[in-house]
Symmetry: C2
Subunit: 388 residues, 2 copies
């Protein structure tokens, strides 16, 4: 890890603008990471991801462990070389996938046994192995192995799980040797503020270079999510980046930044794109809607994405109706460009100390699709087996 | 149509190098047209198709008539504007699709009634309507409506069908008004050389600016195809382009050029790419083959396509095994770049008058996959409902 990992540059209320330093470039924050679970941001080339304005992507240890295998990625020069991405990479440890996606798991203090969602084969993961795998993959930022309980598990169950998560965090820290790589801890604690506080206190005492906020936006009401994000972020150290894991709809990003979050990732922008749901500054719309059939103008005439600069909404609509793969590409480019532009606007407003006004205006105009977003997020727990 | 439509520049044996002039650019021949039945070359943007080296693509009137509808494409400024392609376009009349793909058809001298493969709705197509639709789409080259019998229909049936095809060609010619557009006739006659001769003689007497050779490579033995192509092409006028319809595997292109063909189209290179079958100068290989799992070098280290310049064969293999859409894109780019390079090599060898040696060398090294290709072509009659 470079000698300085993160610098906080500006604040506007609780919103923060900063920079993360990696040996694969500087990442301005607040940052959104497109999801490339299987070492590819679905439908896009690495060149395109970079041109969209992203400096860091997320890949999943769980997916890459099962396919093609950590040893193969390592043999091929590590994850950056494998996927031909010279920007920064963060890998998730596999905890979330093992606990939410794998059909069977058995956990004890040593680690977790789970079955592959691909072929049902049995595997064993420990904190030490999670670190070793992520060292082999060679990401710039890696995550501890945590236990990720369901949001409606009992307080007792979450309490016990938290103790284990904390022990595992320490074991990950002790196992981690690779210098050019930052290991982040993950705050858990379910929907219980006092458990979240305890988790923050414990993990901060271990002094990690960054902190994930895990186990949120997995089905609990949105007000609960926001309140817990605020509770958690406000207690984390000012000089360390805060990463709200698996959250990344436009409104969630704005709400998260308002509560002090620096990093986001989510498959939502790319997944809903492939369903034809496209972001505009007025909210989400669906390109399959009959109203777009004959629309000669681009989906969003003010958008500077490749799709909107070159094609009518009618053409995009035609591609979706005709099940053409180009439609999935163009929709993905559009949604990710929207998020990239959103992050830039957020950052500018923090630098200008006008974030509060930006947030109010954004949330007032981007209003219609909250229900859809919540539905998507509730589904998240059960989805994503194909990596986003 | 520009005052001069085609110029023959060089020959080498029966192989010909020339140029087709359109108001959307000059197309060097021999030319291969990537197939974009539904107004998109599957998985690719128009920019990419151009960068691959192609100046003309094929779109299908049948597909566009059913979805999004000719009127919508026309309202949106015609096919070039609709699909944002500023190169040349050739549209097929819909005859082939109506006769091979539509589940029900009823033909009389006036035209053909068919059912949509999308929703089963009934439609009526005449030579005059086929021309009118293609005028509305605004392609640079359009095709007459022809009847396309099965290769194993009886001689009597094909004889009767040929008479109708000839009458329809004349009606198309009389209906065609758009000056900036070339209308090509289509030679039919099944597998009967004397019917092919008769068809050539009749259509040449009507003086079209170009000639399609239709109804071949639809299941008949390859020797028969090649012999009929030779018979047909050698009787067509020297100063008109000859278009072997729906044929375009690497070996078929080389064999077709050797027999005097100037233009090819086929969904095969892009369709087999999406199945993981990739062209190399030694023949086809399948990227899903276990031997590629750990291959650090590109699929073809000498290939200059985007996929081979940026990724290992192992990564491409991983994308296919993981069902990642980027795999389909990279494979499509690779196969079309192979064809583009093949066309350039063919053309150079004709200009240098060394085509015969090129053909011998190519067919000797590109040898292993003939059986696979024939299987693909036999399937063609029953496939392609989703437009290639």
């Amino acid at each position: 890890m470079p000698s300085e990992h993160f610098r906080l540059l500006n604040t506007s209320g609780n919103a923060r603008a900063g920079e993360i330093y990696t040996s694969h470039g500087t990442v301005p924050t607040p940052a959104f990471m497109p999801v490339g679970s299987q070492a590819t941001v679905k439908t896009l080339t690495p060149d395109e991801v970079k041109q969209l304005g992203f400096g860091m992507v997320l890949a999943n240890t769980y997916h890459l462990y099962l396919r093609p295998g950590i040893d193969i990625v390592e043999k091929l020069g590590g994850l950056h070389a494998f996927m031909a991405w010279d920007g920064a990479i963060l890998t998730d440890s596999g905890g979330y996938q093992v606990f939410s996606l794998a059909p069977l798991r058995r956990i004890d203090d040593e680690g977790v046994t789970f079955r592959s969602h691909i072929d049902g084969s049995e595997h064993f993961l420990t904190p030490e192995l999670a670190v070793r795998y992520q060292e082999s993959l060679g990401a710039d930022i890696i995550m501890v192995l945590d236990e990720c309980p369901a949001y409606d598990d009992s307080r007792e169950k979450i309490r016990a799980s938290l103790t284990r998560t904390h022990r595992w965090a320490r074991r990950c820290q002790q196992a981690h040797k690779l210098e050019d790589q930052a290991l982040y801890a993950i705050v858990q604690g379910g929907i219980y503020p006092e458990l979240r506080h305890e988790s923050v206190e414990h993990l901060v005492s271990l002094d990690f270079p960054g902190y994930g906020i895990g186990g949120l936006s997995i089905g609990e009401p949105k007000e609960v999510t926001l309140s817990l994000v605020e509770e958690t972020a406000s207690r984390l150290p000012e000089n360390k980046p805060r990463y709200l894991m698996g959250v990344g709809s436009p409104e969630d990003i704005v709400n998260g930044v308002a509560r002090g979050v620096d990093i986001f990732d989510s498959a939502l922008p790319t997944r809903v794109a492939r369903n034809g749901a496209l972001f505009t500054w007025r909210g989400r719309c669906n390109i399959r809607n009959a109203s777009f059939n004959q629309t000669e103008t681009p989906l969003d005439p003010d958008c500077d994405c490749y799709a909107c600069r070159n094609f009518s909404a009618a053409y995009l609509s035609h591609l979706f109706r005709s099940n053409e793969l180009l439609g999935l590409r163009l929709a993905t480019l559009h949604n990710l460009r929207f998020i990239s532009n959103l992050m830039q606007k957020i950052r500018s407003s923090i630098v200008d100390d006008t974030f509060d006004a930006f947030q109010r205006e954004f949330l007032a105009s981007y209003s219609t699709t909250d229900e859809q977003t919540r539905f998507e997020q509730k589904q998240r727990w059960l989805r994503g087996r194909n990596g986003g």
